[in-house]
């Protein structure tokens, strides 16, 4: 993975020193809250319901074991002993004291982490496939490109005050595991017929109040031109994106207003007008190769014989076999697997991870996964490279830390935002809804098969409810929590927005409503279908009917 150079280290040290002085002045009364707010937000510090919240960027969801230990220490020493992994592949700490934040940021800088650009109207964390670099269906590892774009986007002088925040996702495999189509700008890595690497570029995706899926602005941009081309996209947005209305400020609204044809024309005109600048921004092969060297695969052992050993262990222990089936993914290296660590033990807050669990995962990563950990956008962790002969031992040790729930991709593997239990923007609670549903559905989730339930506690949609197979949006209606339910969403290569099944329901009606939707799905589905397949075939009506008849 990318290691900071001297320039990076110096910059971050200076930034922490600046911030320390800003906090000092704030606490001394020399800065008002109005003056200080943007300064703290530029370092990822929000003020939520109960305390300050610190959001730490985890670039493209890749962590070293040392970084994860650094986060564990923040949880233990400066928070209440846990952190919350988010749908942006970041982590948030919910109980932070302002007066301690300079020390926290200094501690994080020592492990090459920070909260810069986790807020504000600029580029946010660049996200990607959690199985980047190990997935068999991948064209190339996307992380070198993520890092190149990250460096270009970090404190970019021209794009530091965009109309609104800007999220970029990069996917390099056949399957889209980065939810690219719900991002402001998406990059699908492609290899052309001539063997050249480049990207399909999408723009205008986003959820929130007005959910829209991204559309393709150019089918193939050679990688040499990547930064110049996305600069052109950003210039069009920076010039024409609306600054007069917060609700219409994202690039998706601009693309919707212009239409993709006109948007494409604007971008191409801008790109053509860039002239010499294009050359200045060109990515030479040597620069890409140098970055790729930072992400070179580890020295895998010859593990070709591990499969037989694993099969034997699985045959003798059904619980282990179930975990293998649900929580491991194929690895391009023979005899290896990627392991998904569930942060969704049934009935516990989704995505939360205690300091001791973080240390456990860091230790296991050092021992069994070349010191590498990934964060997934569905709020789980991944040990990317584990020898199959080590899986049984790993399973036992994860289990001892309540980290081996075999539910990845199943009904209890729910995405939920922090909701009204923590968040200043929320209109209803999310976590208790997720807990109740997980407890209720866990007993039959194996029979249901893959099912993505996603819950947001407000219209901003941090829980990605629009693209859940079953989506739940918490609202406030006449002073009470009320939940709007959608079905048929998905966030993969065939991304779709869910359809609303009817009037919102009260909190106590959610479980029964979701039960009826699942029953309808099980009746309707044909062999081999998953929820989105069935929905595409039958549409919304039979699901609505299932609820209507029940009422």
């Amino acid at each position: 993975m990318y290691r900071y150079d001297e320039f990076d280290r110096k910059f971050l040290a200076e930034r922490v020193a600046q911030y320390r002085d800003q906090v000092r002045r704030r606490l001394a009364g020399q800065l008002s809250e109005d003056e200080f707010r943007s300064l703290r937000l530029m370092n990822g510090l929000y003020l939520q319901l109960h305390a300050y919240m610190l959001r730490i960027s985890i670039p493209y969801g890749t962590l070293s074991s040392a970084q994860l230990r650094g986060l564990a220490e923040v949880a233990r020493r400066w928070d209440k002993g846990y952190g919350h992994f988010t749908t942006r592949q970041n982590i948030q700490f919910n109980w932070i004291k302002l007066e301690e934040t300079p020390d926290i940021l200094a501690h994080l800088a020592a492990v090459q982490l920070h909260g810069i650009q986790t807020s504000g109207n600029s580029f946010r964390n660049i996200t990607t496939d959690p199985f980047a670099g190990v997935a068999g269906d991948e064209i190339e590892d996307p992380r070198p490109y993520c890092e190149i774009v990250r460096q270009w986007a970090a404190l970019h002088p021209e794009f530091s005050f965009l109309p609104r925040k800007f999220k970029i996702a990069i996917n390099a495999a056949d399957a889209d595991r980065a939810a690219v189509k719900i991002h402001d700008l998406g990059l699908y890595l492609r290899r052309s017929d001539r063997g050249e690497i480049g990207f399909a570029v999408t723009v205008g995706g986003g959820l929130g109040r007005t959910p829209i899926l991204a559309q393709t602005v150019r089918d193939f941009v050679p990688r040499r031109e990547l930064l110049a081309y996305i600069s052109a996209c950003l210039r069009v947005y920076n010039q024409y994106g609306r600054r007069d209305n917060l609700f219409k400020s994202r690039i998706k609204i601009l693309v919707q207003a212009l239409g993709i044809e006109k948007m494409r024309q604007e971008v191409e005109d801008e790109y053509a007008a860039m002239g010499d600048e294009r050359e200045a921004l060109a990515l030479p092969d040597e620069a890409v190769a140098a970055m790729q060297a930072q992400f070179a695969p580890p020295a895998y052992a010859d593990a070709a014989g591990d499969d037989a050993e694993l099969a034997q262990a699985a045959a003798s222990e059904p619980d282990f076999a179930r975990w293998i089936e649900r929580n491991t993914r194929p690895h391009k290296q023979a005899g290896h697997a990627s392991v998904v660590i569930s942060l969704k033990p049934v009935g516990r807050p989704t995505g939360d991870c205690s300091a001791s669990q973080m240390r456990t995962v860091a230790d296991l990563a050092d021992e069994l996964s070349f010191g590498e950990v990934r964060v997934t956008h569905d709020q789980n962790l991944v040990l990317p490279h584990v020898r199959k002969s080590a899986l049984y031992d790993l399973w036992l040790r994860l289990g001892a830390g309540d980290l081996a729930t075999p539910n990845i991709g199943l009904a209890s593997d729910i995405i939920a935002c922090p909701g009204l239990d923590y968040c200043g923007l929320a209109t209803a609670r999310s976590i208790p809804v997720a807990q109740a549903l997980a407890v209720h559905l866990a007993g039959r989730e194996a029979a249901i098969g893959p099912l993505q339930i996603k819950i947001s506690g407000c219209i901003n949609a941090c829980g990605h409810h629009h693209v859940g197979h079953i989506g739940i949006l918490g609202l406030e209606k006449n002073g009470a929590e009320s939940y709007q339910i959608t079905v048929g969403g998905s966030d993969g290569e065939q991304a779709a927005l869910g359809g609303i099944i009817g009037p919102a329901v009260a909190a106590h009606e959610i479980t029964a409503t979701v039960d009826r939707l699942i029953d309808a799905y099980l009746r309707l589905r044909r062999d081999g279908e998953q929820f989105p397949d069935t929905y595409r075939r039958v549409g919304l009506a039979p699901f609505k009917e299932a609820l209507y008849v029940a009422r």
Partner: protein, 95 residues
């Protein structure tokens, strides 16, 4: 008849973000039961009093909220303020 609704002022403590309630000039308390309650018509004056004082002000974002009395206890009107007053409704993970 409904219980009378009162106004009180709440904010987050500057140095650590903790939820606090305005009690009297310069005094903010973490206990909502110790907050100063006024009738609706006196809300604006209470807020002005809470906002007064030299910098640094001890509370960030002072705001008026509604609450009712329940015996010795003060109960906020909205779920959001109930959660602010008594913490998340879900257990969090111990270290």
């Amino acid at each position: 008849m409904d219980d009378p609704t009162f106004k009180l002022v709440t904010g987050n403590r500057l140095r650590d973000g903790a939820v606090v309630y305005f009690a009297s000039a310069g005094i903010w308390t973490p206990r909502i039961d110790d907050a100063r309650l006024v009738e609706e018509k006196d809300g604006a004056a209470l807020l002005a009093e809470a906002q007064a004082g030299p910098p640094p002000h001890p509370a960030v974002g002072p705001a008026l909220i509604d609450a009712v009395r329940d015996g010795d206890r003060v109960v906020p009107a909205t779920l959001r303020e109930k959660i602010r007053a008594s913490g998340p409704t879900v257990a969090y993970r111990a270290a």
